[in-house]
């Protein structure tokens, strides 16, 4: 069963801009799914339509098999949304925001209060329950929106850039939390511009560009397509001339650091040997960027080239 299925989804805004040009997508129940794409690709538009915040132009949305147009209540019950932009009452307290949201899902006040407590504890905001939401820090506001989205136990949690502006420590605890609720059975769809985040969390990935899905694949399969590997080499002594090694692209970063690009199938030991022969000793080695990021850059470059040719 698909937690989410989109068929031929299109959106043309009133100014004539076609933000979605026929999106087909199926997200199986239980999946941890990344939806990536450059700014303006159409991610938030797609999420807006799924959550009834934006009127679609045409196409079909199903949530756990329920058609969003025909079985609205059943479909909506199963979605929890963490939007890209803050959208709670800034003058309301943290606790009331979550309790009211439960009420909108038909949860009686007593139970709503119990659930609000559970949700707020999950995101470590219980201490702040009496705080007026305006006074929360940016990261706390994001966590409040997560607590609010989970208060009715949705089967599908959609997060639109949940970690934007969140510090490293909280980001990691957020990841841990999302992994946990995913293990417990919640399907998670996440958009992010931090590709390492997508790589570390998600098992499946779709990339949207100019309103179309251009990649839809398992994370593992996708990463094996990354053709070149880029490494950062830290040197024992500074150099003043960039070495040349046949078959590798080497760029200087500074006197102590080089960046090397390895074509597929090339072993890194040959690079070490050749550099050693030139009297350059390597002190440390690390990946220049994570693989998903490399894939993403390849894809974007490739698409730009092909549109220029056309």
């Amino acid at each position: 069963m698909s937690a989410l299925s989109l068929r031929e989804l299109r959106k043309t805004y009133k100014n004539g801009f076609e933000a979605l040009q026929g999106v087909d997508l199926a997200v199986p129940a239980g999946e941890f799914f990344a939806l990536l794409g450059p700014n303006g690709a159409g991610k938030s538009t797609m999420i807006g339509i799924i959550c009834s915040l934006i009127n679609k132009t045409s196409g079909e949305v199903r949530i756990f098999g329920h058609d969003l147009s025909r079985e609205r209540e059943a479909a909506k019950r199963r979605i929890g949304l963490v939007p890209q932009e803050i959208n709670f009452n800034q003058f309301e307290t943290v606790f009331n925001i979550v309790v009211n949201q439960a009420g909108y899902y038909g949860i009686r006040r007593r139970e709503a209060m119990e659930r609000a407590e559970r949700s707020l504890r999950q995101v470590s905001l219980w201490d702040k329950r009496h705080t007026v939401s305006r006074q929360l820090s940016g990261g706390m506001k994001r966590r409040l929106m997560i607590a609010r989205a989970l208060v009715h136990d949705p089967g599908l949690l959609i997060l639109d850039e949940p970690t934007a502006g969140v510090d490293v420590e909280i980001r990691h605890s957020m990841w841990e939390f999302l992994r946990t609720i995913n293990r417990q059975g919640t399907t998670v769809i996440l958009t992010t511009h931090y590709l390492e985040e997508a790589e570390s969390l998600c098992r499946h990935i779709a990339i949207i560009d100019h309103g179309r899905i251009v990649v839809n694949s398992r994370m593992q399969e996708l990463l094996t397509q990354v053709q070149t590997h880029r490494y950062t080499l830290e040197l024992k002594q500074p150099i003043d001339q960039t070495p040349v090694v046949d078959g590798f692209v080497i760029e200087p970063v500074d006197a102590w650091t080089l960046r090397a690009e390895l074509p597929p199938g090339t072993g890194i030991h040959r690079l070490f040997n050749e550099l050693g022969a030139q009297g350059i000793e390597i002190h440390g080695l690390r990946n220049a960027s994570n693989r998903l990021e490399q894939y993403f850059m390849q894809l974007v470059d490739h698409r730009r080239d092909s549109t220029q040719e056309a």
């Binding site: 805004y13 209540e73 059943a74 009211n100 009420g103 909108y104 006040r109 009715h152």
Partner: protein
């Protein structure tokens, strides 16, 4: 059904809690202004004016003044609450959730009715300090009070749907509502007007509400009370449908 009922309770609770919490802005001003009206027009000048339709001037203006505060408070409660819900975007909380459009309208309008009725009672209470109030027809009083509160709550809701600035939520109250209220026979009987203005006044729906409401208190009216009820009930039904339809389409809310 159960979901919708609890959602409605939640919105109503939130809306009523909102205006009670900020009572110095929502309840107190009406008490002060209307206290002054009663003091100046009723108690001080009223003695000079004498009687209208056989009742002392102070008693004559009490129903109109009360209904005037019901109108302005219902309207401004919903227009400002719903506009800020839209402006701060927490309307999205309701739209994402399985709450029907009818319940959203009912919740906000219910909040406006609650404030209108509460302020109406406060003003009536103040009036009771100035004169011996008597009520001729309770059912007319309650019915017209509630219908009026509902009608202007709906109007405030629709105003908020179309508004896209804070200016836009004060234009209608200042330039449409206030003139209609003051020309709606709150302070005078239209029988005192020249024939032409008497007829023009009859086109003002507020005149019919004020007179029906006055009939509830004093048993006198410039217009037929049953016709007033039909008119106001019809308008309320029309605005209900309009508000529901706007929300359904997402006017001013959904791109």
């Amino acid at each position: 059904m159960r979901t919708q009922r609890i959602a409605l309770q939640t919105i109503l609770f939130k809306e009523i809690h909102r205006f009670l919490r900020i009572w110095p802005q929502t309840i107190l001003p009406a008490a002060v202004t209307n206290g002054l009206y009663l003091l100046i027009f009723g108690a001080l000048m009223g003695r000079r004016i004498g009687t209208i339709g056989g009742v002392p001037y102070l008693d004559y203006i009490v129903p109109g003044i009360t209904l005037m505060s019901v109108i302005t408070n219902s309207y401004s409660n919903v227009v400002s609450s719903f506009y800020s819900t839209k402006f701060q975007r927490h309307i999205e909380e309701l739209i994402v959730a399985p709450v029907s459009e009818g319940v959203i309208v009912a919740g906000y309008v219910g909040g406006g009715i609650a404030r209108g009725v509460l302020v109406g009672c406060v003003v009536t209470g103040i009036a009771a300090l100035f004169t011996d109030l008597r009520v001729a027809h309770w059912e007319v009083l309650a019915g017209m009070g509630l219908l009026t509160a509902a009608l202007f709550s709906l109007a405030g809701f629709i105003n908020a749907v179309f508004a896209n600035s804070f200016d836009a939520i004060s234009i209608v109250p200042n330039f449409v509502l206030t003139p209609l209220v003051y020309l709606g026979g709150v302070f005078y009987s239209i029988d005192l007007l020249p024939e032409i203005w008497r007829r023009v006044s009859l086109a003002n729906p507020i005149l019919h509400m004020v007179n029906a409401f006055r009939y509830g208190f004093l048993g006198i009216s410039d217009v037929p009370v049953d016709r007033a009820f039909m008119l106001i009930a019809g308008m309320t039904a029309a605005l209900t449908l309009w508000a529901w339809w706007l929300l359904r389409r997402g006017t001013g809310i959904k791109a």
